[in-house]
Symmetry: C2
Subunit: 203 residues, 2 copies
């Protein structure tokens, strides 16, 4: 059985952008099956006493993060444009992602949202932007966004966020293997993939 | 001229342990001249509103850090034993390090303090432990510890901590190149060394 890696992310998370763009070839090379798990980081940060991103609360940390992201994108040849405002509400994007992940266009949609947010500096809290991104995949955007606002999908996103908190997730991206081993941060992607390929971590 | 990298660290910093143990061969391979810059992270964390380590304040983050450190030490074949209490006052160790760095035994002393703290789980806030570590290098420990408590060394450590804050350092380890480029975290050591080797970053 192939190893399994749960990729927990929030569309507002800067380092999740890097992981979303790096993940596919690395997972394929490691023969690891990845599950995209969008959730909302906001309620989890709030439970730690933070009303916004810690990168806004702690300016020196924030300054480093933006410069770090810029340097890493340059090395990786990924587009980078700092979004304003930051962070943006990722609620609707996450709901649309859940709709797509139930079908076959979810992962590509997730990458396109991250690229829009941090490669192009666009507003991913804007339904017209999300509609455009869905439409670009050849999918009926009006139908997808209507489904995204259904009670079932709203409940699913709440449950996923609760599950993230239950797993001990405190930031994004976070990788969780089938045995519960948890790795925080884009810098741990390779190590998490190695862990997932070990015996006993398949499902 | 060789590139220069300033390695800013606090002896209480878990990830600084990894850097201290990894640094020498990587810097030699990159022909980068490293300057060990001990400072006190406590006053800088306090200025951010934290009375102790954020790993203590945010339990989920703390749990991940200890497990992460354990996993990384296992991969790197470094000894690991979780110190108790954490963090310990690094004041005297940092002062002794400044004495040693003025002479020729500072870097070896720094590595031995980190190994004692996180490899052996010893009390590095204990003068008798520090004396033992200095003595093991063949140095007169009583004399070194007396110099460490001189007004000149006390002032130097205060100035170094103020300089760290002025540079925008908010955590440890932090790497600062000759051109002021700043990299935070053991995960950025290789990237910081690449930066330091670039033209224009020598002094």
């Amino acid at each position: 059985m192939p190893g399994v890696l749960n990729f927990w992310f929030d569309f507002g998370s800067t380092y999740s952008y890097l992981t979303a763009m790096r993940l596919q070839p690395l997972a394929a090379a490691a023969s690891v099956q990845v599950r995209f798990r969008p959730f909302l980081l906001g309620p989890i940060l709030k439970a730690q006493g933070w009303a916004t991103s810690p990168f806004n609360i702690y300016p020196a940390k924030g300054r480093h993060m933006w410069r770090d992201l810029e340097r890493l994108c340059e090395e990786l040849a990924f587009p980078f444009r700092r979004p304003d405002p930051f962070p943006q509400t990722s609620l609707l994007a996450a709901r649309v992602a859940l709709v797509g992940l139930d079908r076959d266009w979810g992962e590509e949609f997730c990458r396109s949202v991250f690229r829009a947010a941090f490669g192009d500096g666009r507003r991913i809290d804007d339904p017209t932007v999300l509609s455009e991104l869905v439409g670009a995949l050849g999918i009926d955007a009006a139908s997808a966004l209507a489904t995204a606002q259904s009670d079932a999908i709203k409940a699913r996103l709440r449950e996923e966020t609760e599950e993230a908190q239950r797993l001990g997730i405190f930031g994004a991206p976070t990788f969780v293997c089938a045995d519960g081993e948890l790795f925080w941060g884009n810098d741990r992607l390779e190590q998490a993939l190695r862990w997932a390929t070990k015996a006993g971590n398949g499902e």
